[in-house]
């Protein structure tokens, strides 16, 4: 698969979804993950549910999962902050095995980020006790399967951060 500027081809992520029989993606697009939009919305096996505000994603995903659909949430890290009470009261309290794909705004591989969104992201996940993995390129995409397995084995949400060099 060809790399894009971020070194991560959306088809690598879609392949992981298919491997894990993910049928629904609840998504509010953001700057870090918009490179996946065309691929995700045009796949016939994947239903993308767009929302108006990020916290809706957690509750919609919970309903889909209760209804037997394998579902992934995709939002930016800022949207995860906004979703705090839904993560607490739904994903964590219900022990939902839910994969949170998170666009890592402000992330830098080297140096010091100037974006507070990046600074607080991992602190936030630590404080909720949510395990997380970082994906930067196609060779990391297998971590999606690992995260899904971990979420199901431990009955809790797990996060995968989609890192792009901030510019």
């Amino acid at each position: 698969m060809s790399d894009n500027a971020a070194g991560l081809d959306p088809r690598s992520i879609l392949k992981e979804f298919k491997k894990n029989k993910i049928s629904h993606l609840v998504w509010l697009p953001d700057s870090e993950t918009n490179f996946m939009y065309q691929v995700m919305t045009s796949d016939k096996d994947l239903t993308v549910v767009p929302v108006c505000r990020e916290a809706e994603t957690i509750a919609i995903a919970a309903g889909l999962q209760l209804g037997g659909k394998r579902t992934v949430v995709l939002v930016q890290n800022t949207g995860i902050f906004e979703s705090g009470d839904s993560i607490r009261g739904i994903a964590l309290d219900l022990n939902l095995p839910l994969l949170l794909l998170i666009g890592y705004r402000g992330w830098v591989r080297h140096g010091i980020t100037k974006d507070s969104a990046a600074f607080y992201t991992e602190h936030f996940l630590h404080s909720w006790g949510i395990d997380y993995y970082l994906i930067e390129s196609d060779s990391d995409a297998h971590l999606i399967s690992h995260a899904l397995s971990s979420a199901e084995a431990n009955s809790k949400p797990v996060a995968v951060l989609l890192g792009r060099e901030y510019s």
Binding site: H24, V26, T47, V49, P50, V51, C52, R53, A55, E56, I58, A59, I60, A61, A62, G63, L64, Q65, L66, G67, G68, K69, T71, D85, S86, G89, I90, D93, L94
Partner: protein, 173 residues
């Protein structure tokens, strides 16, 4: 299946004939309708009713547009509109008395949207409303009727956290 929230959790539990199919959601800033949407999309042959309130709707106003966009035919969205935060002691909900929730739902894409101010009118329409193709929105203007519950009584209220373990395999394939 019924998804009540906040004060409706206790009230609905007093009349529900199938508590095993109830998903009472507490808190979470007005997300009952969002959870109901997910369930309705996952199980299109199951009728899903969400019992919302004006305070909860205003915390998650985008839900109208998200539901209207998906337009699940099996979703009925009811709101008890009393103008106050009943759960926290009856403080007024900002702007609730002038917001037209039914118009908001209609312009967001619900197949039909209704408001009732008299019980008799609602009762005479109820069969048609609940058998109509969704999403249907029903705003019920009601007088405030506060529960004076102790902290222990609040904690004992029906909750999804208590119901969920028994429900999570309901639709498992």
């Amino acid at each position: 299946m019924v998804v009540p929230t906040m004060q409706s959790n206790r009230r609905w539990s007093l009349v529900s004939s199938r508590p095993d199919l109830d998903l009472p959601l507490t808190g979470c800033m007005g997300k009952a309708s969002s959870m109901a949407l997910g369930l309705a999309l996952a199980q299109p042959k199951t009728r899903v009713i969400v019992i919302d309130g004006d305070g909860s709707l205003l915390m998650n106003l985008g839900t109208f547009v998200t539901i209207g966009e998906q337009a699940p035919a099996n979703l009925i969205h009811v709101s008890f509109d009393n103008g106050v935060y009943a759960t926290t002691g009856g403080q007024p909900v900002p702007g609730s008395h002038r917001v037209d929730f039914a118009a908001y739902a209609k312009s967001s894409g619900y197949r039909s949207s209704h408001q009732f101010e008299h019980l008799e009118d609602f009762i005479s329409s109820i069969e048609d409303l609940f058998s109509a193709e969704g999403p249907v929105f029903i705003n019920l203007k009601i007088q405030e009727d506060l529960d004076d519950l102790s902290a222990d009584e609040r904690m004992a209220m029906p909750s999804l956290v208590k119901n969920y373990p028994a429900m999570k395999d309901l639709f498992a394939s």
